[in-house]
Structures are given as C-alpha cells and as structure tokens.
C-alpha cells in the first residue's frame, strides 16, 4: 500500500473516532432543542463536569492506577449519573420557571448557566489543567502496514455505537421514547393524552446529559488534559454538528458529528492544524447561509 493511502486511512480512523464523540454531544443539544426549542448552551459545561466527575471519582473510588474494563465501566456510569443529576438540576432551576416565557429569555438564561458553571468550575477545580486518569491501557491491538488500530479507538467506536443503538431503541421502541416524540411534536396535545410533559422533559435532560458524560470520558481518554473551560470549544463544535445535521433531528446529529470529525481531521492532516477550529465556524456560517434547516432537517412545515 502506498504511503498516501496509509496516511489517509489513519486520518479516517481518527476522524471517525472524533466525529462519533461530537455526535454523542450533538445528540444532547438536538434532543433538548427538539423538545423545548431551546439551545441548551449549558450542555457543554455538563460535558466538562463529566470529565471532572471521572477525575474525582477515580480518586474517591481508589481506581487511579487500576486501568481495566471494570474501572472504565464504573467511572463511566458514575460520570453519567453525575451529569444526569446536573442536567435535571439545570432544567428544574433555570429552564422550568421560564417554560412559558418568551424563548429569548430561556436562551439568555442558558448562556448564563453556561458561564456560571465555567466560573464555578474554575473556582472549585482550579483553572489549570488536570491529568485525566488512565481508564484503560492504550495498546495497539492490531497493525496493518503501519496503520494501527488502538484500544482507545476501539473503545470509542464500541461505546458510541452501543449508546447510539441504545438511544435509537429508547426513542423508537419504548413508551417514554414515543412520549418524547409526542411532546416534541405538540406539547399541549401530548398533555391531552395524559403525558406529563415535565416528566418527559426531565427524562430528556437525563438522557442528553448522560450522553455528554460518555463523550467526556472518551475525550478524556484520548486527550487526557481537562480544565473547566474544556467544554466551550468542544461544545460549540458539537453544536455546529447538530445544526449541520438539522437541529432537532437525531440521525442528523450523528451524521453532522461524523462529518465534523472527519473534516476536522482531514483539515489538520492535509492543510494545517491552525485551521482546526476556524473550520468549524466556516461550516456553521455556510450552513446557516445555504441550508439553515441542516442536511437532514426539513424546513419547518406543519400540516393544518
């Protein structure tokens, strides 16, 4: 195989790995948007908290120097629980009181919560980066002509795939998932079916926030430096991924995330890492200009 193809394959693997993490975070944005028409800017900080929950959890549970599957699963579940609780808290305290207020109020509140968590994080955790604990060993599992498949990449693929399949079953196949779709279609009519919209909204935050924790753990493993502002840029890119796929559209978030991850990796690999972040914003501007409903989104249409 030629050098170029090998290099391209390596970028492809990295890009899909990064992209599937964007997708996990993008799903949280898109689910909350679908049900509340609110861009939950605090989602990027929920993600950040997921990383710190893992960092402290590893210490509290004495799992610092014990990488392995059980350490990984335990800390993953712990981070998911912490983030789910935080998501529910944010919804209760910040968004629910504004449920019937103009949408702009909730949006501004979301930005406020996001900033609040960033600064609180800097006070509580300290502003300087911390080293994320080693959850599993990053070994090269296989190598083909210099393209290596590492255990981190396998973990990232495996875990994101697992959660995406689980989410899709939840949304399509379960009663609460159908209720989520009903509430996002029409909250008033859903309440006429006996659906308690507030409970469904709470559940949506639980799921979206838990997925953010999964993203945080995977990112922490791959790029093991965490700090209280780590959510800002990463969250923004995941948000762009959600918009790219069509905000409110779940498969769209996955497609958008993968495109973002792949393109970013290719830009870094073939052009220059200087343009890594500029790229995301160029995409955002381009979509908003040419296809505001996103790739898979439909222009809002209601049948009367």
């Amino acid at each position: 195989m030629s050098e170029e193809i090998l290099e391209f394959t390596q970028h492809l693997i990295n890009g899909i790995a990064l992209g599937s993490i964007y997708a996990l975070i993008a799903l949280g944005y898109t689910m909350v948007y679908g049900i509340l028409q609110l861009i939950n800017f605090a989602h990027s900080e929920v993600y950040m908290i997921g990383a710190f929950a893992t960092y402290y959890g590893a210490r509290w549970f004495g799992l610092l120097d014990r990488p392995g599957i059980s350490t990984f699963v335990l800390l993953l579940v712990f981070a998911m629980i912490c983030c789910a609780a935080l998501g529910v808290l944010i919804e209760r305290l910040a968004y629910r009181p504004l449920r019937n207020a103009p949408r702009l109020n909730a949006l501004i509140t979301a930005i406020g919560v996001s900033l609040f968590l960033q600064y609180t994080g800097q006070i509580v955790f300290g502003a300087d980066p911390k080293v994320f604990p080693t959850l599993i060993e990053d070994a090269a599992l296989a190598s083909f002509h210099g393209v290596s498949i590492r255990s981190f990449d396998v973990a990232i693929f495996g875990v994101t795939l697992f959660f995406m399949i689980a989410l899709s079953y939840l949304i399509q196949g379960t009663k609460i998932g159908k209720a989520m779709r009903a509430v996002s279609a029409n909250r008033t009519v859903a309440s006429l079916m006996g659906i308690d919209a507030n409970r469904v909204i709470t559940f949506t935050f639980v799921v979206g926030s838990a997925l953010a924790a999964v993203g945080a753990v995977l990112v922490g493993m791959k790029y093991p430096k965490i700090d209280p502002l780590m959510g800002t840029l990463f969250g923004l890119k995941a948000f762009v991924a959600a918009v790219l796929g069509g905000i409110g559209n779940l498969p769209g978030a996955v497609v958008g995330g993968l495109i973002m991850g792949l393109c970013e990796e290719m830009v870094v690999g073939y052009i220059s890492s200087t343009y890594r972040d500029a790229f995301a914003f160029s995409i955002l501007i381009l979509i908003l200009f040419f296809r505001p409903a996103g790739l898979l989104g439909k222009a809002t249409q209601e049948k009367v």
């Binding site: 009663k175 159908k178 209720a179 779709r181 009903a182 996002s184 279609a185 029409n186 008033t188 009519v189 859903a190 309440s191 006429l192 079916m193 006996g194 659906i195 308690d196 919209a197 209601e302 049948k303 009367v304």
Partner: protein, 239 residues
C-alpha cells in the same frame, strides 16, 4: 323518563385572554349517554370552553366531572379522571405512525388486554386506519387524520369524549361518514360533548344542544327542537 346522572357540569365559566373576556359565565351540563353539542359562529368561545375543561387554559367558575371539581388540575391529570379531548385541527403527532399515535392515546393505561381490544375496536370503526397502521400520521389525508384523532381520544377509555370540530376542512362525504361513527360510538354507550360550526350535522345527531354567541349561551334545547327553531335556522342553518 328519569334524568340520567350528570357526567359533566359547567357552572358560570369565565375565560379571559389578556384583556379579552372570551367566555362570559357559561353554564351547561352533559348527562350520561348523551351527545350534547355546542354550536356557534367563529370565535364564539366553543374551543375555549373545551380547553378550559381540559385544564389547558385558566378559568374561573366550576367544572365538575362525575361530581368531582377539576379546578387546579393539570391537563394530564384530567385525562386520567376520564376526559378525552380531540382538539380542533386534529393535532395528530405527524412524526409518529398511526399505531404510535393510538398507543399515545393509551398512554395512561396498563390493561394490555383492554388496550388490544380497544385498538381492534378503533380499526372496526375506521378500517382505513388499519390499512395505514405503520404510516406516519403526517402523511394521512385530512379525513384520515380526523379518524385518527377521534380514535386516539377513544383509546384513553374516557367517561366523556369531547370532539372539537370533527368536520373542520373535510369534504361533505367524509363528514357524513365521521358523524355516522360518532353516532355509533354514542350508541355503544359513550357520552359525547361535540363542538361544531356545522350546526345542521351536529343538531341532527345531538340529544341536546347549546347555542354559544360571543361567550354566552343564548339558546338551548333538544337537538331536534333547535333544528326547527326559527332563530337557529336564520343564524346557523342558512337557507
């Protein structure tokens, strides 16, 4: 004939939208086994009345279901007490399939066997829905969406079925079909509160009816009586 027990009692209902006094002291009742209609022109306050009963909008006055006041209850709690509301404009969930829409109607129920039976019953009433069972509700025709909305309301297994303008935007043939079914459902024992602009159709199938004008009841009586009332004929039945 002994009076049947009242299922729904509305007393001195008032609804305000900001500065607009939309419902001004409405009182009426619906008794077991009846079809009762509220008829009236555009903006008379028919939809607002149903929305108040369902707890969607705030109101003053008393609304009782089977003698129990509904004041202060949330819409999802009122459904559990036995009020089904098929809303104006049908309000099917377009992103859900026909079957999923019906499952949402049964959201509050746990009796699997009963749900399955009621589902079959809906498909007997509206065979068209069975043909479309796994189609997204947003792709149905207007008439089919209305059939789905009524079926979905029936799936809650209510003591009172409220229908808001089932004839809205439908061809006369489809309207006739749907009204046949409403009559049939009532014959099977369902108590129905029907809101209609199509006064003739409504009065023909109603035991009793109330005429609502700008938030007040101006006339009431048996459906067959109102059908021949000079004032009703002039204002609502045309020619």
């Amino acid at each position: 004939m002994p009076e049947k027990a009242p299922i729904l009692e509305v007393q001195d209902l008032n609804v305000h939208y900001g500065g607009i006094h939309a419902i001004k002291g409405l009182s009426f009742d619906v008794r077991e086994g009846e079809i009762v209609s509220l008829i009236g022109a555009n903006g008379a306050g028919k939809t607002s009345t149903l929305r108040a009963i369902s707890g969607i909008i705030p109101y003053t006055g008393t609304i009782k279901l089977l003698g129990r006041p509904l004041t202060g209850l949330q819409p999802h709690e009122i459904v559990k007490l036995g009020v089904a509301h098929s809303p104006e404009g049908r309000g099917v969930f377009p992103n859900l399939t026909v079957l999923e829409n019906l499952e949402m109607g049964a959201y509050i129920r746990r009796d699997r066997e009963g749900i399955r039976r009621d589902l079959e019953h809906c498909f007997e009433l509206f065979p068209r829905l069975k043909e479309r069972i796994s189609q997204k509700a947003g792709t149905l025709s207007g008439g089919e969406q209305q059939m789905l909305a009524i079926s979905r309301a029936l799936m809650t297994k209510p003591s009172l079925l409220m229908l808001d303008e089932p004839s809205l935007g439908l061809a006369p043939l489809v309207v006739a079909q749907i009204f046949e079914i409403i009559k049939k459902v009532n014959k099977e024992g369902m108590t129905i509160l029907l809101v209609e602009q199509n006064a003739r159709m409504a009065l023909e199938i109603s035991h009793r009816a109330y005429v609502v004008e700008t938030g007040k009841i101006t006339l009431s009586g048996a459906g067959s009586t109102l059908l021949h009332d000079r004032r009703v004929i002039e204002s609502y039945l045309g020619a």
